[in-house]
Each structure stands twice: as C-alpha cells, then as structure tokens.
C-alpha cells in the first residue's frame, strides 16, 4: 500500500442472516426452534439463509479524493460505510485505513434529550472521537456555526428538529478528520443550512480531506465528486468518472415493480408492468432537463374490469416531499373502464422543478373516489439544471418579470404631476 492511499479495500464482504425465523429475540424462540429440530429428527432443520449485503468489494481511494457511493436502497452503501468505520466486522476480505477517520452515519446519534446543548456538545464531540480539550477549544465556533447561541443552555428536548440537527452537524463538522465518511447527512436542515453544509464540505475538500459520500442526491454527488462507486446488490458494478457512473445508474433505475400498497386480498386487480419517461428527445434516460416537456407512458395489466378508474400520477422528491399530482378525473379525462392490457399516457407541461431526484408513483381507485386498488412506484428521474438546485432554490423555479423603480425616479413623476 503506497503512501498516498487513504483507504484500501480488498475483497471486502459482509454476510447477514436473512429472515426473521433465524433471528432469535428471546430464549423461548430458541427452545421452540431446537424442539422442532429434535422432534423432526433434524429433518426440518431450518436452512440458514444468508445473503451478502456487500461482496468482493475492491478499490483504493487516494488521499484527497472525493468519492460518491451510489446505488438503490439495499445495494450495500451503508453496509460499506459501517464496515469502513469499524461499526460492523466484515465477513471476508480486508480494508486498510490511513489517517484519522471520522464517520457520520447519522447526525446526532448519542444526543441526550435531558442534557443541555452545551453538555451535548461535549458528549457528542467525544462520541465522535474528539478530546474534551479539543471541544472546548472549538466550542465557540461550533455554537456560532449552529446558530443557537441563545439556546445553548436549554435541554435539547426543547429544541426544534432544525436546531437539534444544526447543533449535531456543527459538532461533527468540527471534527477535522483526514478521512470523512458521510451517509446522507448533508441533506439535513433547511435550505440555508444545507447550503452551509455543502460549503463546509467543499472547504474540507480544499483542505485535502478524503471524503466518501453516500447520497441519493445526484446533484450533490455531481458537484462534490470526480469519481463514483456504483453498488448493485452488494457488488461494485462501476468505479470511475462521475458522469459515466451516473448515466449507468440512471439507466438502471427505471421501473421497479414494487407496490407500496395493495389490498390484502391477493394480487391487486391492476398493476403497471412497464413505464417510460420520455423527454423531448424521445428517449428514456431518466434525466429531465429543467423546463422540458415530458411524456409518461405506463403499461398496465388488469385481472378484471375496473369501472370508472381514477388514475393519479404523482411525484415525490427524494426527501419524501409530495410535490405534485396529475389525475385523469381532475383533468377531465373520464375513463369508463380499464380492462386487459393497455397504456396510459400523460404528457405534462414543461416542468420547472429544481435539480433533484424524484420518484413517480401511480395510484388507482375504482369508481372515481372509491377504494384504493394499488399504489405503485413506476419510476424515478432526475431533473437537471446547473444552478437551480433544490437546496438553494426550493421546489420549483419560474422566471419572474422584474423591473426596477429607483427612489428618485419614483418620486419624480409625482413631483411632475403636482
């Protein structure tokens, strides 16, 4: 391992037991399990069902490099960070870390509600690996960065969630590590504070810190990292330049046949089998330019005739904010029924959403506002714009018409009139 490598990972893997059947929570469960095994003479012995949350990961990260870890939920991103920060022990392979490592997997872990902001600053500081002397020295800077000076001696259980997160992040920000592992933590607080966090991360970058960064926000990945590691089902499927990696990721993350709602009585009577998001170029890239007209095509399959359906297509931002909804009934397109297979097409006007990651959901109700039959995630897309980021510009951006009336000029006509 050469001197300029900060993290060196070789064949790193982490295996977990799957399923609740093998995870015992009390002695009774174990006794029951052993008894079953005994009574059936071991014939029914439960096969241990393992899965690899991370497998055969191999890469080097040089000192000063900023690398984004991308992948869908459950792809192994957090497992990787947990192994590198020594919270969990790997099942195979090895990793070498050169330098002081700070890991922020969650902001504010270890905060105690009954303690004041001041007491929590010291507590959290030492949880993150700072000495008391270090915290003392940086205390004023921490409080100032968090903007909670007047509440520093109030128990944090009285804090708003924004204040809580600001203080926690501020302590973490002053950790000053050589290598920093971040798991989605830059996406906290209000827009102004997020901007501050991003600026802070950039200043770390300039100081030459090595940053490993998990995020669903492709915009921050793009601005922060020159390189991405793309994980899919625990394996590294791409390791290289950010643009290329994001293209691959976006290409992969289209339709997922996941219902997040359907009625308990068996399969939903209608499901969506394929969905495409077409931007003006007519191609399905998963990336939409800000202000581009878009067409959603959703193929459906029904197992019975669905009377007077109401179909809603809605967008949720990656932070679960419900952004907007299209509905065939509200928009005056009555469907008498849906039967067999077919395609629903929604052409939406130029979307002025700011740069972020969105999920598209479809929900179907019968008899207009009757019972919900299915709700399904049919795709995700990124909105791309170089300046209008959601952290700085809010949900959408529409151009306003501006004019300027200087005080003198405003006063002048009245004078002239009088």
């Amino acid at each position: 391992m050469t001197n300029d490598v900060a993290i060196s990972v070789r064949d790193l893997g982490k295996r977990y037991l799957r399923g609740s059947g093998t995870k015992h929570n009390s002695v009774r469960d174990i006794v029951q399990d052993k008894l079953t095994t005994l009574l059936t003479l071991g014939l029914k012995k439960r096969q241990k069902d393992y899965f690899w949350a991370l497998s055969e990961a191999t890469f080097d990260i040089k000192k000063g490099e900023n690398v984004g870890i991308i992948g869908l939920n459950g792809a192994g991103k957090s497992t990787l960070l947990k192994v590198l920060s020594r919270i969990v022990t790997p099942t195979s392979g090895e990793a070498r870390i050169n330098g002081r490592l700070g890991a922020l997997l969650e902001v504010g872990t270890g905060f105690h509600g009954e303690l004041t902001g001041r007491e929590n600053t010291f507590l959290y500081g030492s949880i993150l690996g700072m000495t008391r002397a270090e915290v003392e020295e940086k205390f004023d800077a921490i409080v100032e960065f968090a903007e909670i000076k007047e509440f520093i001696d109030t128990p944090v259980k009285r804090y708003s969630s924004g204040m809580y997160v600001r203080l926690a992040f501020s302590v973490a920000a002053h950790l000053d590590p050589d290598i920093l592992l971040l798991d989605e933590v830059l996406a906290v607080g209000d827009a102004a504070f997020q901007r501050k966090c991003m600026n802070f991360a950039r200043s770390l970058q300039q100081k030459g810190s090595t940053i490993l960064f998990v995020s669903h926000n492709m915009f921050s990945i793009k601005t922060m990292c020159q390189r991405v590691i793309y994980l899919k089902k625990g394996k590294v499927v791409f390791d290289g330049p950010t643009d290329e990696g994001l293209r691959m990721y976006e290409g992969d993350s289209r339709l997922k046949e996941t219902y997040w709602f359907h009625r308990d009585d068996g399969e939903p009577p209608i499901t969506f089998t394929e969905a495409t998001i077409e931007s003006s170029g007519g191609i399905n890239t998963g990336v939409i330019d800000h202000g581009e007209p878009v067409t959603f095509r959703m193929r459906y399959k029904t197992s019975r005739r669905i009377e007077k359906p109401e179909v809603r297509l809605s967008f949720d931002r990656q932070d679960d904010m419900h952004v907007m909804t299209f509905s065939n009934t509200l928009e005056g397109m009555e469907l008498p029924y849906l039967e067999g297979e077919g395609e629903l097409v929604v052409t939406v006007p130029p979307l002025k959403l700011t740069s972020d990651f969105f999920l598209a959901n479809v929900a179907v109700r019968e008899n207009r506002h009757g019972k919900l039959l299915v709700a399904q995630i049919v795709g995700h897309f990124h909105v791309r714009h170089p300046t209008y980021s959601s952290t700085a510009y809010g949900v959408l951006h529409e151009a306003g018409k501006w004019s300027h009336v200087p005080a003198l000029a405003a006063a002048a006509p009245t004078k002239a009139a009088s």
């Binding site: 929570n25 002695v27 192994v83 969990v88 070498r96 872990t109 105690h112 507590l123 008391r132």
Partner: protein, 286 residues
Amino acid sequence: MNAAVEKAVASAHRQEQVVIRPGKGLFDLELGLIWRYRELMFTLMLRDIQVLYKQAALGVAWAVIQPVFAVVVFTVVFGNFAKMPSDGIPYPIFAYAAVLPWTYFAEATRRAATGLVDDAELVRKVYFPRLVIPLAKVAAPLLDFAIAFCVLLVLMFVYGIMPSFKLLAIVPLILVASLLALSIGMWLGPINVRFRDVKHTIPFLLQIGMYASPIVYPLSQVPVEWKALYSLNPMVGVIEGFRWAVFDRGNPDFAALGIGLGVILVMLVAGLVYFKKQERTFADVI
C-alpha cells in the same frame, strides 16, 4: 491551547494504519484502545450522572432514600420481629454498613448488564471499543455511593462509633465490588444484546444475591461447614470488610476476601475474552 499541544493531541488520536479484518485472535483484547477512549468513557459516565436525577423533584436525595428505606424495613422485619442477632451492634447501623456496598453493587451490575442495549443507538451508528460502556456504567453509581456514605458517617455519629483509620479500607473494598459488577456485566451484557430476557432476570438474581450475602444477618450465623462455599460469593468478603472497617472489631475475613478475589479474577479474565469475541457482532444483532 497552542498549536503544538493541539498537534500532539491530534497525533495521539491519529492511528497510523487501521486494518479491518473478519477475525481477531481470541486473546487480542485491545486494552490499549480502552486507554485511548478514556475520554469517551469519562463523558458517558458524566452523562449518566447528569441525566439520572434530571426532572426528579427530589433529585440527588434518591441516592440516600433508597438505602435508608431498605434499612428501615430490615430493622423492623429482621431486627425487631425476627430478632436477628447483629454481633452486638445496633441493628440499623449494622444493616446500613452492608446495604451501602450492596446498593452500589446491585446498581452497578444492573447498569453494566443492560448498558449496551440502553445505548443501542450508539452501538449501531458509532465506532468505539464497546467495553467503554460497561466501564462507564460501573463508575457512574460511585457518586450515589459517596452520597450514601455521608449518611453512614451521620449514623456513626448518632450511635457514638468513632471512625478509625480503618475506615479508609472501604476505598479498595468498593473497588473490589465494582470489579465484580464489571465482570458480571461483561457476561450478561453481550447475552442481553441477543436475548432481552437478561433484563428481566437481573432483578431476581440480585434478590437471591442479597440473601446469599451477610446483609440482614451476620456472617457468624452461617454454619461453619458451609462457609467455604458461601465465601465463593465475592460480596461476602466485601461486606464483612465494610463492617470491619466501620465498627473496628476483630480482623477482616481475609479468607473470604481471598476466595472472592480469586472468583472475580477468573470471571474478569474469562469475561473479557468473551466480551471481545461477542463485541464484533453487537452492531449486527442489537
């Protein structure tokens, strides 16, 4: 703090290279790590002390109420009704001298055993040597002990017992009690991570332990042929040591103390190996 000192502190924290691997040697106990994380241990202990009596109207008074109440009950039931002998010492102070170390031991054991689960969030999200938790948990109730000790001094004054220099012996004695609590915590803690049953078992284990220790009765009441077996309970030596230190009578029971220390040593070393082995899976199963 000047820059040079800061650098020294920073480099003390900076480990040259950390190697992360699946397995470790059975006897790789990483005790050096505990020293490096001593500040965290101290801070967690401080947190437990700070938090304990917040938003409790009686506050720190609880540190005194608990043992005093126990002694009142014992005096009525065992001292007056059952006419339990107390080696010629007034029963209330006879009982208090034993309840004092026992209360500490019981609290320290309970906290050391359940501490990992109480701090599950930390275990799941932050790296540090996990041994820091039972260590901090055993240390925190020492403050309660110190407060309750003041009540002992008051009682001694009331009953006209002159403190002798022997009273200093309670410092090493309470350390023995804390080592015992730690060694039990190192066994029960990892089991509690897997099976929450431990939490429900501790109260009655402690209840049994209390009657298996010379608290409401003197050691002289234990039949001679049972004494060796009885002394396997390390709290026997500690409690008798307390009585000796307070009442300044006879000699401390070195035999009982020696057996007890032997038991603690075995449990401590084995517990350490067991804890370190289990530690690697805490975050996965907690």
